[in-house]
């Protein structure tokens, strides 16, 4: 059940960098690539170079005025008031030199992944630089400037006319992509995330189900703070299978934020690496079952860049390439190369040991609540009469 996989990468993807104190750090992409090369599963022939998205491509989803504002911001010519109107220059999305081009490269990388899969050059493609799901059509938000996922899906609709299932496993709700296709019955969005009661962006309730012709094609599975692997995997697998069976997509696009791990500083979820092994396995299986293998995977959030993200993201590629997640020891050469720079001790195994996840006293209540959310979501995957 394995197919040809492509890894989209160039150093240009690392230029999306707000400042050294900012939690969003694209070094994660480099660390992951390096880990895969050290593990001898990623080779030069697997890598395809991303292109820069054109203005017309960005405008498939973004407002032209917003694109122009970003170009001005890129060269320091956007004034503060105008910037704030577009969500630019805030603590979350501060201005940086060359930000338009850096962001357009991430979008271009997702389009490169799309073309590679839909032109038949590969079955699966991975752009870890993308997955910026909070971007709106004329506003930056939540560390996201251009929404590469939304642009890529518009691009698929425009150029290939395929039915797209978007699956978002970031711990934050995939709001930007959801609202972009809220009225579109040809794009089904499914986001599993920590409930918005406490966590940004606050949306993603199970009753957000789409409007007009798109009614019934938005799925949200808000799970409780401190959810662990067992419950995450159980509700996620159940929902993903039922939604795919219901929607019968032609292609699956996944957003792979790696911030539901118990080490992640920005969220309250408590997953371990087990969840990040299951996520790509399931996407891979369902892509082969329903979409002839067509699967495009993007990156996303993930703020423990040393202990969590490289391992979690590398498993996506391992599954794409070999059909299985890796296990056992991480390559010693990789650990040796980076351990000096890491402020924390990097785990030496692919899998997490059982002492990683703390004891959560309300585990049973949390699991029950998640199960309720799942049952509520599943109502819309069933025929009523």
């Amino acid at each position: 059940m394995t197919g040809k996989a492509s890894f989209v990468y160039s150093d240009a993807l690392l230029n999306y960098h707000f400042h050294s104190e900012h939690p969003f750090n694209q070094k994660r992409v480099l660390l992951t690539k390096d880990l895969l090369e050290a593990a001898n599963v990623l080779h030069e022939r697997d890598i395809i170079k991303p292109r820069l998205a054109t203005d017309d491509e960005l405008a498939l989803f973004h407002d032209r005025a917003y694109i122009e504002a970003l170009k001005k911001a890129s060269i320091g010519q956007l004034n503060e008031t105008e910037g704030l109107e577009y969500g630019l220059g805030t603590e979350d999305t501060p201005l940086f030199s060359g930000m338009h081009e850096a962001s357009a490269y991430l979008v271009g990388a997702s389009l490169t992944a799309v073309d590679s899969v839909l032109n038949g050059e590969s079955d699966h493609a991975l752009n870890l630089g993308g997955g910026l799901h909070h971007g709106f059509n004329r506003r930056a938000a939540g560390f996201c400037i251009y929404n590469d996922g939304a642009v890529a899906i518009k691009y698929i609709r425009e150029n290939y006319d395929l039915k797209v299932l978007y699956v978002d496993t970031d711990a934050h709700h995939g709001d930007g992509v959801q609202w972009a296709f809220y009225d579109d019955p040809n794009v089904c969005t499914f986001s599993i995330h920590e409930t918005g009661r406490y966590l940004f962006p606050g949306t993603g309730n199970v009753n957000e189900r789409g409007i007009k012709a798109g009614h019934g094609y938005s799925f949200n599975l808000p799970i409780d703070a401190f959810t662990e692997d067992e419950s995450f995997i159980s509700v996620y697998e159940n929902a993903f299978r039922k939604i795919t069976e219901f929607f019968k997509p032609d292609v699956i696009v996944t957003q792979n934020g790696a911030d539901a791990h118990c080490y992640d500083p920005l969220t309250h979820l408590c997953a371990s690496m087990e969840t990040y092994e299951k996520i790509p396995l399931l996407a891979h299986e369902l892509a082969h079952k329903y979409c002839n293998g067509k699967w495009i995977a993007l990156g996303g959030g993930g703020y423990d860049i040393w202990r969590v993200v490289p391992r979690a993201w590398a498993q996506i590629w391992n599954v794409m390439k070999t059909g299985e997640p890796a296990n056992g020891n991480l390559p010693p050469s990789w650990l040796k190369k980076w351990e000096g720079e890491s402020p924390v001790t990097i785990p030496s195994l692919w899998h997490d040991t059982s002492d990683v996840v703390p004891n959560i006293p309300r585990k049973e209540d949390i699991n029950e609540k998640n199960e309720k959310a799942l049952q509520s979501l599943l109502k819309y995957t069933k025929k009523v009469m």
């Binding site: 939690p23 805030t90 603590e91 979350d92 909070h134 938000a141 939540g142 560390f143 934050h172 709001d175 918005g196 009661r197 406490y198 966590l199 940004f200 962006p201 606050g202 949306t203 703070a225 401190f226 118990c262 080490y263 500083p265 920005l266 309250h268 408590c270 703390p358």
Partner: protein
């Protein structure tokens, strides 16, 4: 917030001599649940609710009801009156009390004896959603503070120093303890960590789930 900011002004009304069937049609067509009954000068003389109309309608078990003569009676025969009304300059907080105490689901807004709007329970709930700020992207933080003067500006200045934009603020009682309050903030950022850390450093206790020091143990 004033009633005039939340009321609907395109009110569907009927004269007292209209038929009950006419009112039933209007409820269905406009998907509303209350119809104020007004005179020619738009002064309010009564109100009918969907429940009044249901009570006046023949049972579905009685077969074809389209010719039922009861529905041809005048609406004034079943309307409620006198009507409790509110003014555009009333506070939303005040009229919430009327909704709660009287168990009404809609209140007509009257100015100079003329009907100018209507506020429903649904409008009230939407106002609540806006007050809580949950309709805007943001992160949620709850801080337990001593119930004493000067605390609020102290806490907000900590948030302000991090240039975090506050979307909404609420003050809750802390369980049954009158010596404490809970301040609830929604701030417009995906990264509330610096603010949380500053609040902790200043000695404030945060409420679940941010009351647990990193990592999440």
């Amino acid at each position: 917030m004033l009633v005039e900011e939340v009321m609907k002004t395109d009110v569907i009304t009927l004269p007292p001599h209209a038929s009950i069937s006419n009112a039933v049609e209007l409820l269905q067509k406009h998907r509303i649940r209350h119809i104020p009954i007004v005179n020619e000068d738009f002064s309010i003389v009564g109100i009918v609710s969907d429940r009044d109309l249901r009570d006046a309608s023949p049972s579905v078990f009685h077969g074809d009801s389209s010719n039922d003569s009861a529905l041809q009676n005048e609406i004034k025969s079943i309307m409620s009156h006198p009507v409790v009304t509110i003014h555009p300059l009333d506070f939303v907080e005040e009229i919430a009390r009327i909704f709660y105490d009287e168990e009404f689901a809609a209140l007509p807004v009257v100015k100079n004896n003329i009907l100018v709007g209507i506020v429903t329970e649904k409008d009230m709930l939407y106002t609540l959603i806006q007050l809580t700020g949950t309709n805007v992207q943001g992160s949620h933080i709850e801080v337990k503070v001593p119930h004493q003067p000067g605390i609020f500006p102290e806490v907000t200045s900590i948030i302000g120093k991090r240039k975090a934009n506050i979307i909404s603020v609420m003050v809750y009682p802390f369980k049954d303890d009158p010596n404490y309050k809970v301040l609830v903030f929604r701030i417009q950022t995906m990264n509330p960590l610096p603010v949380i850390q500053d609040l902790r450093n200043a000695g404030y206790e945060l409420m679940w789930p941010n009351n647990i020091a990193e990592p999440k143990i």
